[in-house]
């Protein structure tokens, strides 16, 4: 062998031995809050594994990723609580033993068996929740106005409103504004939401995703975000104490995200351990204050791992009242869901 060939080979060898190697890797399809390294570090250290996270947006996109993957490519998945049934129907989630989960320590409203179980079997567990309601800059708007959704289309705040770009909670809020419960949104009642939705859009400056909505509120581009909540403002609280949120008199929506084990995983035990870690008090405290967005932990014992300041930002003590006034996301059938999305698309292009 020529001597010149030894140098690149030696370099490769050094690189190979210098790189840290893990015996196992866990692959997780997640939302952006799970990409915080502080969240997964304790789990990685305890089990000597590497957690690879891939962020996705939209349940359809997540299910499409699973469709295009081989069994065993993914181990755990974070999913909107309203879509657990959809994922189970598509054969994407594996059953998990209910007795392995600390749901007895959860806020009772967040056990959500109707969402997380199918046919009596548990397929996911709630890990985080919050509210889609009204976020605002209390130095720019009258907080009293924010207690009534009618103020949003009254003309006073035209051009200063942002709408969170997610059709389910915003249509739910529009429904509440019309005196319609979210559970009553169906093919028959949906058309009645079109006019108020378009009216809201006409008052708004923009319709934006999580990051754009946060940026807009923080920079003063908009003063109100419809569909916002603690998830929008809490992560900005330290630098922007002027940002606040409230549930108006008509009510708000409660969002919840669940985590489950992906069907076909080649390491079901490790995947279950990750789920158990996420819903443990330590995991829950870290998840509640993870970067990207904050939210309330489903496990009430997570409070022991949160500071007084963090609890104040999350409004820990006010949760019982908020939970009473918040309704769940609409869970439309496939046809109504399509109609809702078509209405949303029409609104975006108005």
């Amino acid at each position: 062998m020529k001597k010149t060939g030894l140098i690149p080979l030696t370099a490769l060898g050094i690189l190979a031995t210098a790189s840290p190697s893990f015996a196992q890797e866990l692959n997780a399809l997640v939302w952006c809050d799970h990409t915080d390294p502080e969240l997964v570090a304790p789990f990685e250290e305890k089990f000597g594994v590497k957690v690879n996270v891939k962020e996705y947006e939209g349940t359809a996109a997540g299910l499409a990723i699973l469709d295009q993957s081989q069994p065993g490519d993914w181990d755990v998945m974070v999913i909107d609580a309203v879509d657990v049934g959809r994922a189970v129907e598509a054969g994407k989630l594996a059953e998990i033993p209910a007795d392995a989960l600390p749901t007895a320590d959860f806020f009772p409203e967040l056990v959500m068996p109707a969402n997380n179980t199918v046919g009596g079997k548990t397929y996911a567990v709630t890990e985080k929740f919050g509210y889609n309601t009204i976020s605002y800059d209390k130095t720019k708007v009258d907080p009293a106005d924010m207690q009534d959704m009618a103020a949003l289309t009254g003309g006073k705040y035209d051009g200063r409103i942002g709408i969170y770009d997610y059709y389910l909670p915003v249509l739910g809020l529009v429904a509440l504004g019309q005196g319609l419960n979210t559970a009553d949104i169906d093919a028959g009642t949906l058309p009645s939401l079109k006019e108020p939705l378009m009216k809201l859009r006409a008052s708004a400056k923009q319709v934006s995703d999580v990051v754009s909505a946060q940026t807009a509120l923080a920079t003063g581009e908009v003063d109100i975000v419809v569909g916002g909540g603690e998830w929008l403002t809490a992560v900005l609280a330290a630098d922007n104490p002027n940002l606040d949120w409230t549930i108006p008199k008509q009510g708000g929506l409660r969002w919840a995200q669940s985590i489950g084990v992906v069907a076909g995983t080649t390491q079901p035990d490790l995947a279950l351990e990750f789920v158990k870690y996420i819903v443990s008090p330590e995991g829950q405290a870290r998840l509640a204050t993870a970067s990207c967005y904050w939210g309330m932990p489903a496990n009430a014992k997570a409070g022991e791992g949160l500071t007084a300041e963090q609890k104040a930002v999350l409004r820990w003590d006010e949760q019982p009242e908020f939970l009473k006034r918040a309704q769940l996301y609409p869970i439309p059938d496939a046809a109504t869901d399509t109609a809702m999305q078509d209405m949303w698309t029409e609104m975006l292009n108005q």
Binding site: G159, Q206, D209
Partner: protein, 284 residues
């Protein structure tokens, strides 16, 4: 074997890897997308068949047709403005900047390329915002009394696009300009042509191929872009790529998304044939 046959065989040998790559990663996936575009949804399941319903909807549903119109309008505006800004910049670099500094000048002109596309778009959002650099400067100079609404509008989208495509067009036009022999311009001026006449009748026609090529690339990249309208446009109007993403990311309506994508490909193909005809590529 004749020399011609050998050269032909060598040519095929050189081009075959690219053909195989294109076939495997473009032609086949595109064919699969066309097949999918003729399917339809029943509930959440895709049902394959031969159904042109998605194409009919793409042109008869006003929301979808408007998205296509929005894309075309924005793309044409961006292409024209970018050409008008890039040509003088390329000409200054080619003819005014000393040869030893041209490379540095080009490097500075394309420096924004070094930033992530998404980061650049968000940066523009901050610059164009109500409390951004532009408004603060104009308010401070007394040019305006109230902040301008630029962010989350079509103008912000166009500015973000133009910022990017001026760099691209500067390169293509510069490459054309630098190859012009200065003797052409000297000859024109010797014959009594003014500078404007020299530019109009000599320089511009000779550099149009570079302009048209750059404009075509701008058109293709702009009309298919999703990020810039999504971030800078504030969803105040939908473009076709955003509509496609909505179908894929939320509705899971892949047949409709595929049909819209084929329509987009059709528009790009039409632009190609128009450019090729103008450039007379069939005679190359």
């Amino acid at each position: 074997m004749t020399l011609e046959a050998k050269e032909r065989r060598l040519g095929w040998g050189l081009v075959t890897p690219a053909l195989v790559w294109t076939g495997a990663f473009f032609v086949l996936p595109f064919a699969a997308m066309v097949v999918l575009s003729l399917a339809h949804m029943e509930g959440r399941a895709v049902v394959y068949g031969v159904d042109a319903g998605n194409y009919v909807r793409a042109f008869t549903d006003w929301t979808m047709a408007k998205a296509l119109l929005n894309s075309l309008e924005i793309t044409v505006i961006v292409t024209v403005v970018s050409v008008l800004l890039a040509y003088p910049l390329a000409a200054i670099i080619a003819f005014r900047v000393p040869a030893r500094w041209q490379r540095l000048a080009l490097l500075l002109a394309v420096l924004p390329f070094w930033t992530s596309y998404v980061v650049r778009s968000y940066s523009w959002l901050l610059v164009l915002g109500q409390n951004g650099v532009v408004n603060k400067a104009l308010l401070g100079l007394g040019v305006i009394a109230e902040p301008l609404e630029i962010a989350s509008t079509r103008m912000a989208t166009v500015i973000g696009f133009v910022h990017f495509f001026v760099m691209l067009l500067t390169l293509t036009i510069y490459a054309n300009l630098i190859q012009l022999s200065p003797n052409y311009m000297r000859a024109a001026q010797d014959l009594g042509a003014s500078k404007w006449q020299t530019f109009r009748h000599v320089v511009l026609p000779l550099t149009l191929p570079g302009v048209v090529t750059g404009a075509f690339l701008t058109f293709v990249l702009c009309i298919g872009d999703y990020i810039t309208p999504q971030i800078l446009g504030g969803n105040t109007e939908l473009t076709l790529p955003q509509l496609i993403m909505l179908q894929m990311g939320r509705s899971g309506n892949f047949p409709l998304a595929s049909a819209l994508s084929v329509v987009l490909m059709g528009v790009v193909t039409l632009a190609y044939f128009l450019s090729a005809k103008w450039l007379r590529l069939d005679r190359v």
